[in-house]
């Protein structure tokens, strides 16, 4: 490099005006693009919420006046109520099962070295990554062949099959980062394996477990793709709404969606706060499971 070109470089006093303008334009453009993506993502829930207050009974503009009528109708609709109640029962049952088995499986995977442990983990997690329809149908045909009619039991089992791995992996994550000397200290102090679990291990995983249960509850309440195939005469809330959407429509549905959406959001925020406070991220786990399974 000749000394002349070096001096020429040094003499430049910063980017030219054109350059700077271009920089700003790009920044604005990118900013708009990002904002529009967020808008795109949130448009549906926002629109749903807005329309749930729309007095007009068809899903179009112009907007009528704001009303709580649909919410009132919702609360008075016996079929809707039955569906909500049914969904709650199922969600609680599925989460209950998942909590027990999920923790048990997490402990087993963490503690016991058995051949095929990795295969087990992949198989356990597979309901999380399987397309809902395949999961639903495959379970349905099994139930059919043993003459179990679609209904409460089948739905609970179906939900448990993907909530359990969720619990397992969230709890497992915590077990893996926890201090093993705590359990040793407990045994050193005279507590056997069961008492050590109760007094030391369980309090340690309590928070992630609760968070996982909240997330699982949300998943179960919202579930449609699998539940559709496993439901009998009485449908869960999403199944009932699905029926309404396909074969008729009432605007109550928007109100129902808004309530469910709001409730789910609340639970997720709580769960996230718990997990972030405890050092894990929720959605990350689930999709990370999917991701890990693919790359393995």
């Amino acid at each position: 490099m000749s000394s002349a070109s070096i001096t020429a470089r040094v003499d430049k006093s910063g980017p030219s005006l054109a350059r700077r303008v271009a920089g700003i334009v790009i920044k604005v453009f990118v900013g708009l693009a990002v904002a529009s993506v967020y808008l795109f993502l949130y448009a549906p829930p926002i629109v749903t919420a807005i329309f749930s207050f729309n007095s007009s009974s068809i899903q179009t503009l112009p907007f009528g006046h704001a009303t709580l009528g649909w919410y009132r109708a919702l609360l008075n609709d016996p079929q809707m109520q039955a569906a909500i109640y049914y969904s709650l029962k199922i969600a609680l049952s599925a989460v209950g099962i998942a909590a027990v088995f999920g923790v048990a499986f997490a402990l087993i995977v963490h503690r016991v070295k058995f051949p095929g442990r990795n295969v087990f983990q992949a198989l356990l997690a597979s309901p999380l990554v399987t397309p809902g329809m395949v999961l639903g149908i495959s379970l349905l045909v099994v139930f059919h062949s043993v003459s179990v009619a679609p209904g409460f039991l089948t739905i609970v089992i179906g939900h448990a099959s993907f909530v359990t791995p969720l619990v397992t992996f969230i709890v497992l994550q915590r077990l893996r980062t926890s201090d093993p000397s705590l359990e040793q200290a407990s045994m050193d102090s005279g507590a056997g394996p069961l008492r050590t679990f109760w007094h030391v291990t369980l309090p340690g995983i309590r928070v992630p477990l609760i968070a996982a249960c909240l997330l699982g509850f949300t998943l179960s309440m919202d579930e449609i793709t699998v539940t559709f195939f496993l439901a009998g005469i009485q449908g869960t809330l999403p199944v009932y709404v699905w029926g309404l959407l396909r074969f008729g429509f009432t605007p109550e549905v928007n109100a129902a969606f808004t309530i469910i959406g709001g409730g789910s959001l609340l639970l997720i925020v709580i769960a996230t706060a718990l997990l972030v406070g405890a050092g894990i991220r929720p959605g990350r786990r689930r999709a990370q499971r999917r991701a890990e399974l693919v790359t393995r």
Binding site: S181, A185, D188, S189, T196
Partner: protein, 391 residues
């Protein structure tokens, strides 16, 4: 090793003759006559996986009631594994573990009358200090009123009164350690195992905790088994110590003996600083090392051996002229350590380290050095850790 039938031997001669087995010294023999054995390991070997080197190899160890016993060694020497086998967290691959005379090899940790103070304290984070400390008693079903009394008593002993309702994360490192100590002491175990408890503390705190631990042990009278890699800790606190290396005990003796009469060159090098001279025997009492003629402290039978000379045993200047081993050395380096100076000297064909408390000759200058043969120790040639005299 069977102490009772072992004949009384001259320590130095025994050390020169015996291989890696712990050389009994007079004091230890006396102890076995009057004290109970609290812990005994019989031919214990631990191999973690097929083909790997044993973590602990054919270990025999006895710890007596009321003594402060240390396991000293570098990382990987097997000291922590040994401790864990006594606590019950590891099972020996071969051999037996005995507590108070009874065989506990197959017993799980919660059925052993042993308490451990963990390196990272292992305080239960969701329990308050008083619940942490009370835990062992709770597990034993001690009635609540008694629990409270004993918790207060032991907290007072470790100077943690007033902290009952704090949670572990609200405590400093030193405070956590004392709570861990309290939890271990409260069940009045036969023996207290301490796994490098001072490792996480800063220097000043470590020094004060050293004293606390030593006094505590004397007051309470419980046997302590202390594991550390810090030789100054072990020397300062122990009644007896075992120097471990690569799964074996290289020497088991009192701190004085270990320091003054190291059994192997590993022990000589690990404990304090020393100069190790590779000697070739001349006559029974003389040898040559690196071009120097050396007077030995005792008669030696072997052709080749190592001689250990502590830096502080080397006299500098005119005073060295009257000593048996007296040479001219060139100063290679002078290190100012504050309370003294360390000199690295070229003596003959090798380097040696010496100490001086005042100003000395400078780099490149010649200085006279010497040591009395009684201040040197003939050491095993086959020590597993070869080190240069520069360390």
């Amino acid at each position: 090793m069977n102490r009772e039938t072992e004949p009384m031997v001259d320590p130095a001669a025994a050390l020169a003759a015996s291989p890696f087995r712990a050389a009994a010294d007079v004091e230890a023999d006396a102890m076995s006559d009057t004290h109970q054995t609290v812990v005994e390991l019989v031919s214990v070997t631990k191999i973690y996986s097929d083909g790997a080197d044993p973590a602990v190899s054919d270990l025999d160890l006895s710890v007596y009631e009321g003594e402060f016993f240390s396991l000293l060694g570098p990382s990987g020497s097997g000291k922590t594994t040994t401790l864990r086998m006594i606590a019950g967290f590891e099972r020996p691959t071969v051999g037996r573990v005995k507590l108070g005379g009874g065989d506990v090899t197959a017993r799980p940790p919660y059925k052993r009358d042993v308490s451990t103070v963990f390196q990272n304290y292992a305080l239960f984070p969701h329990m308050k200090v008083k619940d942490n400390v009370a835990y062992p008693l709770k597990m034993r079903g001690v009635p609540r009123k008694q629990v409270r009394l004993r918790v207060n008593e032991v907290l007072e002993r470790v100077a943690m009164t007033g902290f009952e309702s704090r949670l572990p994360h609200q405590l400093s490192g030193g405070q956590r350690q004392r709570v861990a100590l309290a939890r271990a002491l409260i069940s009045r175990p036969k023996i207290l195992l301490l796994d490098e408890p001072l490792g996480a503390l800063d220097l000043k705190l470590r020094e004060s905790m050293l004293l606390v631990l030593k006094h505590l042990q004397r007051e309470v009278g419980i046997t302590f088994l202390y594991v550390t890699h810090d030789q100054s800790e072990a020397l300062a606190m122990s009644d007896r110590l075992a120097v471990m290396n690569q799964g074996r005990i290289e020497q088991l003796a009192t701190p004085t003996l270990v320091y003054d009469k190291p059994a192997t060159s590993f022990v000589a090098g690990f404990i304090g600083k020393t100069n190790l001279l590779e000697c070739v025997r001349g006559s029974a009492r003389t040898a040559r090392a690196g071009g120097l003629g050396i007077q030995l402290p005792a008669d030696v039978a072997r052709e080749r051996f190592t001689l250990s000379v502590r830096p502080e045993a080397i006299t500098l200047g005119e005073a060295s002229r009257s000593l048996e081993n007296h040479y001219a050395a060139t100063v290679v380096e002078v290190l100012f350590l504050g309370h003294e100076r360390e000199l690295i000297l070229e003596v003959g064909a090798q380097r040696m380290t010496a100490r001086a408390t005042g100003p000395t000759a400078g780099v490149g200058e010649t200085v006279e050095i010497g040591w009395p043969s009684a201040a040197s120790v003939v050491v095993e040639e086959t020590g597993t850790w070869q080190q240069s005299p520069l360390e």
